[in-house]
């Protein structure tokens, strides 16, 4: 068995892994990237549409153009990477076992690990659509891979269930290919992806968006021949009598993304309610020296945000190796951060009081849309310790709050709850 040591192992060579690797390499540490696919770049490679890089490079790029800039840096900095390499085990002592065709089983010891495995798509089973199980059902991302990478078409006439970003982008992409997208069906009263995709991908191409509806039956024993869609009530229960049949030969599912954390879980790190690992303000998981960034931690709106988070993870891993690794430190004290009203989840899940970062960046998502609201932080006694006005929140747009440690009453703080509530003065105005 091949065995060796490096300072930092990065798992995943997508946008998150590459940015983290570049950051770590700049501090002259030994870094190694492990990637299970046959090339660097991750899922961004199949996102051939534009809209990437507006924050990071102040330019509008396609996905492959965006990620190529990081691939180039990896080459320039001579960062080593292993392709077609699957990590099969991570231990608490930061040893990794991986396999590939050339080297067999590899054992790598490290001082720090950065998890950057990305996310996967929710499937039909996860939403339990009744009916047949014919050919012709794809997740939106899988269809995207077939069309943009492999050069094959999943079908001719489509219904897309769910208005996630990939679903809407695929609706436009398939229309460009001469296919007919009959409808994008969304169970919620509003699209679940970004507004810009609703406008640029659906409205500009007259693709019907049917909200408050969902697919309630799949027809066709061999190849799908159509779907029944039904209107739903507020509890998402089907309204009997509202059924409509739509003929199609392909159904795409764009019903959400889930951080991919089987390795994280198996390593023994705790996961939190969003499916990502439980992390502190340094993006450190519950295993010392193992960090997480990008969609494996939380599903982001834009790749630019993934990059920013990955750079932070890289910096924090450097800091760990330089200041904490191998030293006897006392058990840190944590302030727990919990989601409150209209908050789906919050990252970080806790703040390490012994190791406060320069800035504490909270990222969270609302459960439902609201307008003229306050995002506020409360301490264990329900005292508001921070608040920020916002014009609106929607679940598809991540809310980011940047604080400096001095903004918080650190001495007395035990827990933080974050909530999104209607602004009181708005209520008064409306009265």
């Amino acid at each position: 068995m091949k065995s060796f040591s490096v300072d930092v192992i990065i798992i995943g060579a997508g946008s998150a892994g590459l940015a983290a690797a570049v950051e770590v390499k700049k501090a002259n540490l030994d870094v190694l990237i492990l990637e299970r696919d046959k090339e660097l770049g991750g899922i961004t490679l199949q996102c051939i549409h534009n809209g990437f890089g507006l924050k990071e490079f102040e330019e509008e790029l396609t996905g492959p153009e965006y990620v190529q800039r990081f691939i180039n840096q990896v080459h320039e900095l001579k960062i080593p990477f292993l392709l077609n390499t699957m990590v099969i085990e991570i231990t608490k002592s930061k040893r990794i076992y991986a396999v590939n065709k050339e080297q067999g089983l590899i054992e790598i010891n490290s001082k720090a690990i950065i998890l950057a495995m990305g996310c996967r798509e929710r499937t039909r089973g996860a939403i339990n659509i009744p009916g047949f199980r014919p050919a012709g059902i794809f997740t939106a991302g899988q269809a995207q891979r077939f069309v943009n990478i492999e050069g094959y078409m999943p079908g001719n006439t489509y219904v897309i269930l769910g208005s996630g970003d990939i679903g809407m982008i695929m609706a436009r992409r398939l229309t460009w290919e001469g296919c007919k997208v009959k409808a994008v069906v969304e169970i919620l009263p509003y699209v679940s992806g970004l507004l810009r995709n609703q406008v640029q991908c659906l409205e500009d191409y007259d693709i019907p968006l049917i909200t408050n509806y969902t697919v309630t039956k799949i027809h066709g024993r061999d190849r799908i021949v159509g779907v029944t869609i039904s209107k739903v009530d507020r509890n998402f229960d089907r309204i009997i009598g509202s059924e409509k049949f739509i003929e199609c030969d392909t159904l795409l599912l764009s019903v959400g993304l889930i951080p991919e954390n089987e390795l994280t879980y198996q390593a023994g790190a705790e996961l939190s309610n969003n499916g990502g690992p439980l992390v502190d303000n340094n993006l450190e998981t519950t295993i010392e020296g193992i960090f997480a960034c990008g969609n494996v931690l939380q599903v982001h709106d834009l790749v630019d945000m993934v990059t920013a988070e990955a750079k932070r993870a890289g910096k924090n891993a450097i800091d760990y190796i330089q200041n904490r690794h191998g030293r006897e430190l006392k058990e840190p004290e944590y302030v727990k951060c919990a989601p409150g009203e209209n908050v789906n989840y919050i990252k970080p899940d806790r703040i390490n009081m012994q190791n406060l970062s320069e800035k504490i960046i909270f990222t969270l998502r609302a459960r439902y849309p609201d307008r003229r609201i306050l995002v506020q932080l409360k301490d264990q006694n329900n005292n508001v310790i921070y608040k920020k006005k916002k014009v609106y929140v929607i679940p598809s747009e991540m809310v980011e709050i940047e604080l400096e440690p001095k903004d918080l009453p650190l001495d007395s703080l035990k827990t933080i709850e974050i909530e999104i509530i209607p602004r009181p003065e708005v209520l008064i105005e409306e009265d």
Partner: protein, 488 residues
């Protein structure tokens, strides 16, 4: 060529008969209408090997089930398919149900079911199965009940039969049978087969096949059962949990799988369409509600797939295993539950019929009852794994990441004696696409391997045979065709 025996139907019944007969010096063929064996009832059932106390005493299926259960021990040793005797509970939720359980225990024990035990100590029950409802008042424990993966077992049977000379013809739907001068001439869409003896194991279509030779004396109706499968590690059950059975079914069970998942189902719906394997909203709700009576904290959110299977229900409710009046035509029909349990005993009975028909049953010198255990990445230690990859690098190329399946296992599935020819065939043989992403990542890569190994164009790869192509063509084709039309 005239075969000594042709078996119609490649489900677990047909394949067990094929494998059992393969030890004799006979020319045997098996015809299956679908693109793969194990495609009908065999693919979608509970996979429970029953202890045998449940069926009514006047039915032949009771005896065959008790016998069949015991025959699994040797079969597993020879064929190396996944099987575990984890034991089952029939769960009584009311005091007046205990009497019935006691009767079943007594009669079952008299008839040869081993180890039946009526447990009334709630603490003991909870200890044995912590997930069981607090409402439980007693259980009938059958330690000889087991779990099998019915399709993996059927693949194993088919492989071993093929190793011993049985010819498998898939995608061969029987259209007509002529009986002429004691020879059966069987016509399919594009082939003709001849045989001296025919065994009808056509499942849902057994009555139709029987009528082709004029034997019109029974009917088979489909009865649908729906299931929901939950993700691995979402719950750990120790036992197969049955409710108190009703007249028409053993009820909705809660059950672990051999791969660490949990499933619930089936319900029982009499239908008329023999192709209707669709699940329904009402049905899925029914099985969740039913299952919750046994296990209140079902991991409903961890559901990864729902599916339905059709049981072949004969009008007599009992197995129809007959040496018919048409000389050489044997019916093995209406094999509903506990058919999976009984299959080895059924096959033995069929051997007896063939003997009566005057067939010379001489055991072949080179008969090999062993179907080697498929090698699995997951079963290797780290050292073995390293060695395996050095020997054959395809062990190191992971195709399915949810289930950690390397290219080598897929190649083995394709090149085994009755190998996979489509995506579902690979999936059911070695599990890529069975995991929580349900093929999201591995499907294009499995298709690539199938295309390369079987020399089929990529866009013609199917999910499960003709009419189930996965892709419609190449990109730009639609646009190019449109332009041509416009130019014209």
């Amino acid at each position: 060529m005239i075969y000594d025996v042709i078996i119609i139907g490649g489900g677990v019944t047909g394949c067990t008969i094929a494998r059992t007969l393969s030890k004799y010096d006979l020319n045997i063929a098996l015809l299956e209408k679908e693109a793969d064996v194990a495609s009908g009832t065999t693919k979608a059932n509970s996979g429970v090997v029953h202890a045998g106390y449940a069926a009514e005493r006047e039915y032949i299926k009771r005896d065959l089930c008790i016998k069949g259960n015991k025959m699994y021990t040797q079969a597993v040793e020879e064929l190396n398919f996944p099987f575990q005797r984890i034991g089952s509970f029939v769960v009584a939720l009311e005091d007046d149900q205990i009497k019935d359980l006691e009767r079943q225990r007594k009669e079952g024990t008299q008839d040869g079911v081993l180890g039946l035990d009526l447990i009334l100590d709630k603490e003991k029950i909870k200890y044995m199965e912590p997930n069981i409802t607090d409402e439980v008042v007693g259980v009938l424990h059958a330690p000889s009940a087991g779990l099998v993966s019915p399709y993996e077992m059927t693949f194993a049977l088919a492989e071993n039969a093929a190793m011993n000379g049985v010819k498998f013809y898939r995608s061969q739907k029987v259209k007509r049978i002529k009986h002429q001068n004691y020879v059966f001439i069987i016509k399919t869409k594009d082939k003709e087969f001849r045989a001296n003896n025919v065994i009808n194991a056509a499942g849902l279509y057994a009555a139709k096949i029987s009528k082709m030779v004029g034997m019109d004396y029974f009917d088979i109706m489909p009865r649908k059962g729906e299931y929901i499968l939950f993700d691995r590690n979402s719950m750990h059950l120790n036992k197969i949990l049955f409710p108190i059975p009703t007249k028409i079914s053993k009820g909705i069970l809660v059950c672990p799988t051999l791969h660490g998942n949990t499933f619930v189902g089936p319900n029982a719906q009499n239908i008329t369409d023999k192709k209707d394997t669709s699940t329904t909203e009402a049905g899925l709700k029914e099985i969740i509600e039913g299952a919750r009576k046994l296990v209140p904290n079902l991991p409903v959110r961890a559901s990864i797939r729902n599916f339905a299977g059709l049981r072949a229900v004969p009008d007599s409710y009992d197995f129809i295993i007959d040496n018919t009046d048409v000389y050489g035509f044997i019916n093995v029909a209406g094999i509903l539950s506990p058919g999976l349990t009984s299959c080895f005993a059924i096959a033995e009975k069929v051997v007896g019929f063939l003997e009566l028909l005057g067939l010379e049953l001489k055991i072949k010198d080179d008969y090999n009852p062993i179907r080697p255990k498929p090698e699995r990445f997951k079963d290797f230690s780290k050292e073995e794994l390293d060695k395996k990859i050095q020997e054959d690098p395809t062990w190191g190329n992971i195709i399915c990441r949810c289930e950690t399946i390397p290219e080598k296992e897929i190649l083995n599935a394709i090149h085994s004696p009755v190998g996979a020819t489509n995506v579902d065939g690979v999936k059911f043989r070695c599990r890529p696409g069975m995991g929580r992403c349900q093929g999201g990542f591995c499907r294009p890569r499995v298709m690539e391997i199938l295309s390369r190994e079987l020399n089929i164009p990529y866009e013609k790869i199917t999910k499960k045979g003709e009419y189930t192509r996965i892709l419609s063509g190449k990109t730009k084709e639609i646009l190019l065709n449109q332009e041509e039309v416009e130019e014209e």
